[in-house]
């Protein structure tokens, strides 16, 4: 039995390295894609979003507002426009992503002890640009506001001024990914998804090739080593696991290290998470691969799932707001739990105890998909035997007929 297992393992390894289609998904994509994605998101935040200013006030105060916005890290004052029409045409040509409109009575109103208004018009096609344009204006207006307040108040000490303008002080404390970087937020999810998707695609493709190369379009050959379910599943899994132990290290240890993404989990915790995750993905892939008749079909079936899976993991859309039906669907995929656990361990410094639910679900996946994988291979063996028997039967019949014809 053990000899057979290793025979299948060696056979599978040979197939993987001889098949360029499988090689692309097992080696090249996991190696190159993380680099590409890290490069795309490496700048993390949107800086210097271009904004156009329409300054009808032309006063020291309005110019000060514009200067302070320009000095902020997120906004860059690209140009001044004479009126709103000109500003609008600049936005439509993508020269600017927003408009600051300062009305003519801006400083007059401030001096009269009336609320002054600054209108901010945002192009809503990019959420991050909108946030930069709006939040900068808000911050600058608050900063200027507190300066004005101290001037208006007429108090004795600066401490008194500070308290009068702000009786209750407020501290803003972003925890975990404090810079709000986009890459640090999305990449952990992307890395884990790449792991699952390439595994499933590769396994599916290898199975498709095996079937197409087989004379009778069966998934497994009739030869002796392929007579036991466990040796097939173990042999194949061992081969995939060896490759993905390396790929997993590359994705979860080396890539974050190269690009300096948050990495709070220790090697041991990562190991505890990745072991069941890779196993669950392998067995999941084996189950999926039995549905593949032709090698290319697996791409048609699995590639498009990647993007919805990213949303189901609860990274970009809050998990608390995913409708119950889709929550249920997300339970099928190991990536849902893999992503959640990895993100919390790695970006939030959670302990293994905090992600116990996810780990338990992953082990449950391992068990269920292992059982399913055995079941589908059991069925494949049965099919192969049936097929061979019927072929034998056919051949015997033919022989008999020939003999009969010969005796006539």
């Amino acid at each position: 039995m053990i000899r057979d297992t290793f025979f299948i393992w060696r056979q599978e390894l040979k197939e993987v390295f001889n098949d360029e289609g499988v090689l692309i998904f097992f080696i090249i994509v996991p190696l190159v894609y993380p680099l590409l994605y890290s490069w795309i998101y490496n700048n993390e935040t949107v800086r210097e979003v271009p904004v156009v200013v329409v300054d009808d006030s032309h006063t020291g105060l309005s110019r000060r507002f514009v200067r302070m916005c320009d000095a902020s890290p997120d906004v860059h004052i690209a140009c001044y426009a004479q009126d709103m029409d000109e500003a609008k045409s600049l936005v439509s040509r993508q020269v600017a992503k927003g408009i600051y409109f300062i009305p003519s009575d801006f400083e007059t109103r401030v001096n009269r002890l009336e609320q002054a208004t600054i209108s901010v018009y945002c192009d809503m096609s990019l959420m991050l640009a909108y946030k930069a344009v709006y939040q900068t204006a808000q911050l600058v207006s608050m900063e200027m506001g507190s300066e004005i307040k101290t001037k208006l108040g007429g108090r004795y000490t600066s401490r008194e001024e500070a308290i009068a303008t702000r009786p209750l002080d407020v501290a803003d404390v972003p925890v975990f990914n404090p810079s709000g970087g986009y890459g640090s937020f999305i990449l952990p999810a992307v890395l884990m998804l790449i792991l699952q998707q390439t595994l499933v695609l590769g396994i599916g493709m290898a199975a498709g090739t095996a079937r197409e190369n087989n004379r009778y379009k069966q998934l497994i050959p009739i030869s002796r080593p392929y007579q036991g379910v466990f040796r097939i599943v173990f042999g194949k899994s061992l081969c995939y696991f060896m490759i993905y132990a390396l790929m997993g290290t590359w994705l979860t240890v080396v890539i974050p290290w190269i690009f300096g993404f948050p990495q709070l989990a220790s090697g041991w915790t990562l190991l505890v998470l990745m072991f069941p995750y890779i196993l669950a993905c392998i067995f999941f892939g084996i189950v999926m691969s039995c549905m593949v008749k032709y090698r290319e079909n697996v791409m048609l079936l699995m590639v498009f799932v990647s993007v919805p899976l990213l949303f189901l993991s609860g990274i970009s859309w809050p998990q608390s707001n995913i409708p119950a039906f889709w929550q249920g669907v997300s339970w099928i995929f190991p990536s849902t739990y893999g992503v959640r656990a990895y993100m919390r361990l790695n970006s939030m410094g959670a302990t293994l105890g905090d992600v116990a639910t996810e780990l338990r679900m992953l082990w449950l996946h391992v068990a269920i998909y292992f059982a399913l994988a055995c079941a589908v291979y059991r069925y494949q063996i049965y099919l192969t035997r049936q097929d061979a028997l019927s072929r034998l039967h056919e051949m015997k019949k033919k022989k008999k007929r020939k003999n009969l014809e010969g005796t006539k």
Binding site: I24, Y33, L36, Y37, W39, T45, L113, Q115, A116, T117, I118, Y121, D123, M124, S125, L126, M127, Y130, Y134, A137, Q138, M144, G145, K149, A162, I163, P167, L168, D169, V170, A171, D172, P174, V175, F176, N177, Y182, F185, M205, T209, R295, L300, V303, F304, V307, P308, F311, S316, W317, P318, S320, N321, P323, F325, M343, R344, S347, G349, T351, D354
Partner: protein, 389 residues
Amino acid sequence: MKYLRQIYEIGMRELLILRRNHMYRFCMVAFPLLTMFFFTSIMSDGLPTGMPVAVVDLDNTSMTRSLAQRLDAFQMTRVVARYPSVAEARHAIQENKIYGFLYIPKGTTDNLLANRQPKVSYYYSNASLTAGSMVMKDLKTISTLGSAAVGQATLRARGFTDEQIKTLLQPIVIDLHQIANPWGSYDSYISTTMVPGMMMLFIFLISAYSLGNEVKFGSSKEWLAKADNNIYVALLGKFLPQTIIWLALVYGYEYYVFEVLRFPHLGGPWMLILLGLMQVLAAQGFGIFSYGLMPSLRMSMSVCSLWAVLSISMAGSAFPVMAMDGPLQSLSWLFPLRHYFMLYQTCVLNGYPLLEAWFHFAGLAAFMLLPWLVVRKIKNAMLTYVYIP
């Protein structure tokens, strides 16, 4: 006339192929519809509401309690727990129970009444960016309001008028106009690029797949013979039925999101029709081109799927292209979805004239014409290649 008849006959043959192989039924009907349903239903709230937050109230006076109650009344947040310490609340974030919390230290009310400027803090997790920034908005508003309420009381006691109090509390007001999407809805912003991106993925794959299958199942010579070995007629006849199916899907989706769900679109219906047509033709062009470039079914399909998945990031709808490195900004031109997104946001979302996005219009047109470069290679492949698994 002869050409028209040939095209019609090849089209009929293609319809038969589409009916016989059920992969087509999945990838041209079932999966696209599923994707459309997925994206429009998962974010049907538009903005996330009732996200779990907590309060760490060490002061526990009527004033701090009312602050917590008012936070609960906000639409986007729901106070689900009260923790006795910051450490425990922080742990709750790590356990995925809450997205943020408000921390009110002991003695806040006393210090406030005694004019000693106490400090409250709000903590939020940016590990999930959307949730973090939404929760932050409400936490910030409630803390600022708390501060303003006290200031208001003091100023009123000193005899200022309401107008003056408003000015003294906030001398400069920002009047925000969210052009074209005044609700800031996430649904209308994600579903309008993700779904077309996924549609392009299907069109890429199916275009390459249907060409490759002619070689794989050895029917390519018969196909070309029907067109008298004229590859243009053969391609037109083969892809016309597919184009019609794709257009039906794309227009159906546009009708659903822009007319039924009422997503914002300032550009008129003609712009939507043009955009849908460009989307389908450009994607088919890319699919056929990639097969022509590498006339091997698995290579071309791998390239198509890798390109399509990358294009969702390179479209720059979530993380803007202008924030990426210089080389990537130029590389983004190689992705049809990038041009589609720019065309969509300029001409449909904001309703500016087509002239403002001429470059991206030309980009999509270039993708449509790409197959022209490789027709010879495709013909050669169809006539001479043999499929090797």
